[in-house]
């Protein structure tokens, strides 16, 4: 595939723009911005990756992973503005996810320690943890707002802050993990995963592509559990002061 054939695929972008204009959906500008951003961002990453792969140095690989974690943290933290120290909490969560993923993959020699393997797999783990963190924070905020009275009830009966938000915390963890688990149940039946399809198109043996896809799925499952549980347990104490009182403004979602 080259740039001129890629240019032809822009037809797929014109269709939603025309439909949006015809039906007054008001999505033309966003579609165009999304298209331009994806072209620039992916080409930029493509050139960076080419450089990193050719350099074959672990320094560049880890720099790349650090950039991914930084960008993912900045993106996810917008959803948790009411949680004190949300930036470092998300950063720690992503670092933990990445640390566990690489420890297992490299420690057990499942993949070689090269940029070609570390960067794409890290990207998938960090990206998934970022989405999971956003899902968790959205749901946790909604649960706290909806059940503020129950949180106060448990405190008033002599419960600890952890007991007071226990149900809301578990509900948010469960809700953020469910899409990952559910999508894995139908994988391969409803759709072929993007990474596996990409490998097959690029000429890889389908069984090899499946093995790698399964590896990714297992990483994502672990990522889902680690990120929502860790972020949950790091977040809830900041909702209360040292008198075990609710900090009211943190129980109300503020659109920023």
């Amino acid at each position: 595939m080259n740039y001129s054939t890629l240019a032809l695929t822009l037809l797929f972008v014109f269709i939603p723009i025309i439909l949006s204009k015809t039906l007054n959906l008001g999505l033309e500008k966003d579609t165009i911005i999304a298209t331009i951003r994806s072209i620039i961002q992916l080409l930029f990453v493509g050139y960076i990756l080419t450089f990193v792969f050719e350099a074959q140095g672990l320094f560049y690989t880890f720099l790349m992973v650090a950039l991914m974690i930084g960008a993912a943290t900045l993106n996810a933290r917008k959803k948790g503005q009411n949680i004190t120290g949300i930036t470092w909490k998300i950063c720690l969560t992503l670092l933990t996810v990445e640390g566990i993923t690489l420890t297992v993959l490299l420690g057990l020699k499942i993949i070689p320690a090269t940029a070609q393997y570390i960067i794409p797999l890290s990207g998938m783990a960090i990206g998934s943890a970022m989405v999971l963190s956003i899902l968790f924070l959205n749901r946790f905020s909604a649960e706290l707002e909806a059940y503020e009275e129950q949180v106060e009830l448990i405190l008033s009966l002599g419960g600890t802050p952890k007991q007071a938000v226990h149900r809301q915390l578990l509900a948010a963890i469960r809700a953020s993990m469910m899409p990952t688990i559910e999508s894995q149940k139908t994988i391969g039946i409803v759709q072929l995963p993007g990474m596996m399809s990409g490998q097959i198109i690029a000429g890889a043996d389908p069984i090899q592509a499946v093995l790698f896809q399964l590896l990714v799925l297992f990483i994502l499952l672990s990522t889902a559990a680690i990120s929502s549980v860790l972020l949950g347990f790091l977040s809830y104490p900041t909702l209360f002061n040292n008198q075990m009182q609710m900090i009211r403004e943190k129980f109300h979602t503020v659109e920023k």
């Binding site: 009275e149 129950q150 008033s156 009966l157 002599g158 419960g159 600890t160 007991q163 008198q243 075990m244």
Partner: protein, 242 residues
């Protein structure tokens, strides 16, 4: 059971400010031990805030608050909230049966209520044992309020804070709840602080009364003070002017 040597609550120059807004303004006064004190005043007067200060769901910005003669900061918040129980106006129920709700204070202490204890506590609030396995969300407003009171009693509260617990009930249910609270006060000597909008109720159920307006305690005394007060603000409140 830990007992307060003197379960009265004393406010000394208590002020609460939130975002530069004065919610409670320099309140000084006491709630006598073993008696029922009613809190009356227009909406937004700070009545619910007074109750939440008493069991430390919120803390004052300045002034001293004493529970049984000890500064409130002296108590562990968890111990304090078990001894100074609050019954919330909306009687929130957790998901599950009436037993699950009654058992909640015990679960929070990693123990469990026996069926016999639950039946006995339910009887105290005028409900029979058939209620134990009922879904709490299916109860009527009056029944929820009784379960809510019973749930607070599980902690053997020495002081009971009642936040407009009869405001959503019909006449008969109001009478039953009033009798129940009087019974708890008589039988167990529990100190009761009761917010009500119903001035008749405030006069006949309470021994003492506080009248609050705009976060200030404008009058405190016997429960019939509303009838004899010379305070212009109290008279205005009585006549529905505020």
């Amino acid at each position: 059971m830990k007992t307060f040597s003197n379960p009265a609550i004393h406010f000394h120059n208590i002020t609460l400010k939130i975002d530069n807004r004065t919610i409670i303004n320099n309140v000084t006064g006491s709630f006598p031990e073993g008696k029922i004190t009613t809190l009356v005043g227009p909406s937004g007067a700070g009545k619910s805030t007074i109750l939440k200060l008493c069991n430390r769901l919120i803390s004052q910005s300045s002034g001293e608050l004493y529970i049984a003669g000890q500064a409130i900061e002296h108590y562990n918040p968890i111990d304090l909230r078990r001894k100074v129980g609050i019954v919330l106006q909306s009687a929130p129920m957790i998901k599950g049966t009436v037993f699950d709700n009654l058992n909640l204070p015990r679960v929070l202490q990693n123990s469990s209520l026996s069926t016999e204890e639950a039946v006995s506590i339910l009887a105290d609030v005028g409900l029979d044992d058939t209620f134990l396995q009922k879904d709490a969300s299916s109860l009527s407003g009056g029944q929820k309020q009784r379960v809510s009171i019973a749930r607070t009693l599980v902690n053997d509260a020495q002081i009971l804070l009642l936040d407009e617990i009869t405001s959503a009930l019909d006449h008969n249910a109001v009478k039953e709840i009033e009798n129940l609270i009087l019974h708890i006060n008589n039988k167990h000597g529990v100190t009761i602080i009761w917010i009500t909008h119903n001035l008749q109720q405030a006069t006949h159920v309470g021994h003492y009364m506080w009248v609050l307006m705009d976060g200030e305690l404008i009058e405190a005394g016997n429960s019939n003070l509303l009838l004899h007060s010379k305070n212009k603000k109290v008279q205005l409140f009585m006549n529905g002017g505020v």
